[in-house]
């Protein structure tokens, strides 16, 4: 690492690259975190919602009379009253229909129709949540039940009742087909075509902290102050201003500590808009904290996709091309599903060479919770591809690792480009596959597996590999839009410390540590003297917030460049004060010192004071020791890796034990290895949950069956094994910034890794696994011990 401008640079990587202890830890680990639920305002009222007990019904009548006079009740809003105060949609999520998609028309609280179980119908504001819930029970709603559309298959049937009248059908988008390469020629030249129907089941984010908002409107100033649990404060501000029709500058949004999100908390939900509208109407602070039942039932669900795949292969195991047909079950209200089509399509070839792809997508609307982003929202591409490779291997009687290595794209062998377009510059997929196979010692595992089978024990090994554009190599012809740039502000304070203002909204990613590490190194002060400010629309720069594994590159890079720019400014001022050239100066440990011992050194406090006063500086010198930097991501690059699981299946009970779990990964240069590993482990835990435990289950009538944590099962400490992690040396594509995102990869590739391991364990039974969720009862059905 070198600074091209001055030739002198602080010791590289003093903090960056080390497992610096998180500055968030003291408050979070001692219960001193400040979450939205910890906010207490004078006169604050509490909200609760009346929700639909049916999946699909016409709302005939809402009688709120008894509730309005119940003890402690301050206000009740039905759908019609709320429609006068706020519009639905219009925020970032409301517009996520995707190109060419007509937007469904609906209201903040249901007026004419409920479209999913838990759909909000009325809002009660009372002196306590207890009293609000008591009053909710007094609200009489008359419904006329409609046939529930509970699967994409039903939704695609033209006879299904349209869930949104203005759309006329339950097909939101498609079928649309895109082709890359000469698909027909590739299939004509294939030795054989392997087909599979692969599904991914509905499961969901389940952050420890659900959604929540405290909205406080001051009628005297016309200002709305909001505390939110969100992944980006500006998105909340913009959505509230638009949906409540108030000037943007009158809305102030803050967020404190966030208890997880995994993609759920972007923009504002209908409930949050309703609560803010209630505050506006009442002129008092109103608070709503989502409870676990609401969180599981209505906050959003993800992942429900089905695929019909054909793979053109040669007899030697070369994968020539794919034909893929995907259907997404997008649930009831607009979410991210249509937006994901393009990403899934682009990513499905993964790190493998193939010459052709045909991809057809359909997005269906159903009477289930809305489709939201969940950690690696496009992950079905990895599930489908990595499971398919094992199915191809089984058909050819070859080891899946051989097939992977045969097809993986290798640096130095053109064309190093996915058939869908993106460059594969810098990928290390081959290295990660080889390293994982070596670490697991595949040959000796096969011997152990054989011996175990003779004793009636069924062990299996599975691999999965992925790449993630976090942010992906930059196409030189492409200029990022202003929204894609990452803005960052940094300033030297009068006390000699540095403050970083970022639009990142950490909810478990530890940006207050990682960005401080980068700033400390590149500015030249101790880590403890950098403060990272997040979560306040009055203070942090515009930006989308935290998501899509973008912070490491985008905010890490913006911090690096801003720190260098601020350092250059500080040195300019210091050079004036000690009468020397800035190129001879350096900042080390909070002091500005020259290389030559003869020159005196001064403190950053002195520099800051002199810049503020100005009297010791010549005119024309820039005295503002603050920089605003917009980073375009630099050259970018891939994150990626290979995971390997060893499992044992108890074939009499269907229980699966994960005996060993190994991760070989490349997320570029690590800012903080401990935080990287935490992200990987958390993702793998969620992947284990997806395969073995977690399912958002619905009955045939659209009733949601997983509304408590006794029904929706999350992995606990006893379900997650020790996860071994090895980091690969990365390929640097950028001169300065080679940090890459690592938030989503674990969750993207763990499901196929486990599915492949379970399939391998059950190979003696001829089991063919095409579904992602494999609870014990299902495994017994697949094994054949039990009737389906």
């Amino acid at each position: 690492m070198s600074d091209s401008k001055s030739g002198v640079f602080p010791v590289a990587g003093r903090f960056t690259g080390s497992p610096v202890r998180r500055s968030e830890d003291p408050r979070l680990l001692t219960g001193r975190g400040m979450y939205v639920d910890d906010i207490r305002l004078p006169g604050m009222l509490h909200a609760a919602f009346v929700r639909s007990p049916m999946a699909h019904a016409v709302v005939l009548r809402v009688d709120t009379k008894a509730a309005r006079s119940a003890p402690g009740v301050r206000a009740v809003f039905d759908g019609q009253e709320m429609a006068q105060l706020a519009k639905a949609g219009g925020g970032p999520l409301g517009d996520m229909g995707g190109e060419g998609v007509e937007s469904p028309i609906f209201t903040v609280l249901a007026t004419d129709r409920v479209r999913m179980m838990g759909d909000p119908v009325a809002l009660v504001v009372a002196d306590s949540r207890y009293l609000a819930e008591d009053a909710c029970e007094l609200i009489q709603v008359e419904y006329q039940e409609l046939p529930a559309v509970t699967s994409a298959e039903q939704a695609l049937d033209p006879r299904s009742t349209p869930i949104f009248a203005n759309l006329g059908s339950n097909v939101l988008q498609g079928p649309t087909t895109e082709r890359f390469g000469d698909v027909e020629a590739v299939f004509a030249s294939a030795d054989r075509v392997v087909t599979a129907s692969l599904t991914q089941h509905r499961h969901q984010n389940v952050p420890m902290e659900g959604r929540g908002i405290v909205a406080s409107f001051d009628p005297a100033t016309g200002e709305l102050r909001v505390n939110a649990s969100t992944q980006g404060v500006h998105g909340v501000r913009e959505a509230l201003a638009a949906q409540l029709d108030i000037p943007l500058e009158k809305v102030h949004v803050r967020a404190g500590d966030i208890g997880g999100s995994f993609g759920l908390k972007f923009g504002v939900s209908r409930e949050e808009v309703a609560v803010a509208a209630a505050s506006l109407k009442l002129g008092l602070p109103v608070r709503w904290i989502e409870d676990r039942n609401e969180n599981l039932t209505v906050s959003g669900q993800a992942r429900e996709e089905s695929f019909e795949v054909e793979a053109a292969i040669t007899k030697d195991g070369d994968i020539l091309g794919l034909k893929v047909k995907m259907v997404i079950d997008a649930g009831a209200y607009p979410g991210v599903a249509p937006m994901l089509v393009g990403t899934i399509r682009q990513m499905i070839p993964g790190p493998y060479r193939m010459e052709a792809l045909s991809f057809t997508a359909t997005v269906a609307i159903t009477n289930k919770a809305s489709y939201v982003a969940y950690r690696g929202p496009w992950a079905s591409e990895t599930w489908v591809r990595e499971r398919l490779i094992d199915l191809i291997s089984a058909e050819l009687g070859r080891d899946p690792m051989q097939i992977r290595l045969r097809n993986v794209a290798v640096r130095g062998e053109p064309p190093l480009r996915m058939v869908t377009g993106p460059s594969l510059a810098g990928i290390t997929a081959q290295e990660s596959l080889q390293r994982a196979a070596a670490l697991i010692d595949l040959d000796s595992f096969r011997e152990r597996q054989e011996l175990a089978r003779q004793e009636g024990r069924y062990l299996g090994v599975g691999f999965g590999t992925f790449i993630e554009p976090a942010p992906g190599p930059r196409d030189p012809d492409e200029t990022p839009s202003e929204e894609e740039m990452e803005q960052l502000r940094m300033r030297l304070e009068l006390d000699g410390t540095v403050t970083v203002f970022t639009s990142q909204m950490p909810h478990g990613q530890s940006h207050q540590t990682t960005l401080a590490q980068v700033a400390a190194d590149h500015f030249g002060i101790p880590f403890s003297q950098v403060k990272v400010v997040v979560g306040d629309t009055d203070m942090v720069p515009m930006g989308f917030g935290t998501g899509g594994s973008r912070s490491a590159t985008m905010a890490g890079g913006a911090t690096l460049h801003a720190a260098r720019a601020l350092r250059a400014k500080v040195l300019e001022v210091a050079a004036q004060l000690i009468d020397t050239g800035p190129e001879t100066l350096n900042i080390i440990g909070g002091m500005v010192a020259a290389e030559k011992a003869s020159t005196r050194s001064i403190t950053l406090v002195e520099v800051a004071a002199a810049a503020a006063a100005g009297d010791r500086l010549p005119p024309g010198i820039d005295r503002e020791l603050e920089v605003n930097f917009a980073f375009d991501g630099g050259a970018g690059g891939w994150s990626g890796g290979t995971h390997c699981a060893v499992v044992e299946v108890d074939v009499e009970t269907g229980l699966v034990r994960v005996e060993r779990y190994l991760v070989v990964e490349d997320c570029g240069e690590m800012i903080n290895p401990a935080i990287v590993e935490g992200q990987v482990r958390g993702g793998v835990a969620q992947g284990i949950g997806a395969v073995l435990l977690e399912r958002s289950a619905y009955g045939e009538d659209g009733q949601f069956l997983s509304g408590s944590l006794m029904d929706y099962l999350l992995p606990t400490a006893t379900d997650v094994p020790q996860i071994e992690i090895e980091h690969l040396e990365t390929v640097r594509l950028d001169a300065d910034v080679n940090f890459r995102g690592v938030g989503e990869g674990g969750m993207i590739v763990a499901p196929p890794t486990l599915g492949n391991a379970i399939a391998d364990a059950l190979a003696p039974f001829g089991v063919r696994i095409t579904e992602q969720h494999l609870p014990p009862a299902r495994l017994l059905e697949l094994i054949g011990t039990m009737d389906a």
């Binding site: 089978r453 009636g456 009862a777």
Partner: protein, 302 residues
Amino acid sequence: MKPPAFAYRAPESLQEALSLLADHGDEAKVLAGGQSLIPLLSLRLARPTVLVDLARIPGMASISESDGWLVMGSMVREGHAERAPLVGRLAPLLSAALPFIGHPAIRSRGTVGGSLAHADPAAELPAVALATDAQLVATSAARGKRTLPAADFFRGFFETALETDEILTEIRLPPLSEGTGVCFQEVARRHGDFAMVGLAASVRLANGTIADAHLALTGVAPQPIRASEAELALIGASPTKAVFEEAGQLATRGLTPPSDLHGSSGYRTVVAQVLVRRALRVAALKAGADYEELDSGRGDLR
């Protein structure tokens, strides 16, 4: 998920608690640890008007021995029982079952009596009480004490023989005969969950054959059940894999276990058979059965 209003009473004597129950009848609910009741209140699935908390009544959490019987106050915390050497010595089946209940935090608050009186159809302790022929002492203000054998105590889905004015005050487990081995096993989706199927088993061997066997299943019926037919068939038999496999078949004959999200009726039936075979094997080994003989013929389970 906030409960409707209720009155909370924390009497400091059993008499006071009993008279509260006598006064409020089925409007009152006894709080004995609260690990099941509090969530039911929050979900508004239970709506008592008065909660009578037994936590402040002295003397209800003692563990003692009487003529070889283990005698426990109903307010003994599950975690306390789990760590009590006396429980391990006198009631190894109870000791074996306790770690399957929830997690340490749950066992720190949950009570032995609370679990029995709640009578969840998939809970562990009711099966242990049934398998060990425990005696349960119910006390009321009007009628004083009565002792119920476990076999008469569990009456159905969350239903016991307790009257609305009665409190389960004491649990007595009989001494174990010499040559008895015990085993508790369960299959749950995760450790700490209620069992899809659980089994409390004990086997007494005499001269190499089975002299007595107790099998109590949980999770397969509205209440825990004894597999009497299988128990009878085991008496006089040799402890072999084939015998245990047969016992599994007998134990599930005529059963129609419930279906839920986590496992169908068919799944529970299959797993109950497996657990009977496995638990009998472990219990027999602990009772002194010959390991080699028991495991001969083991191989591919298919």
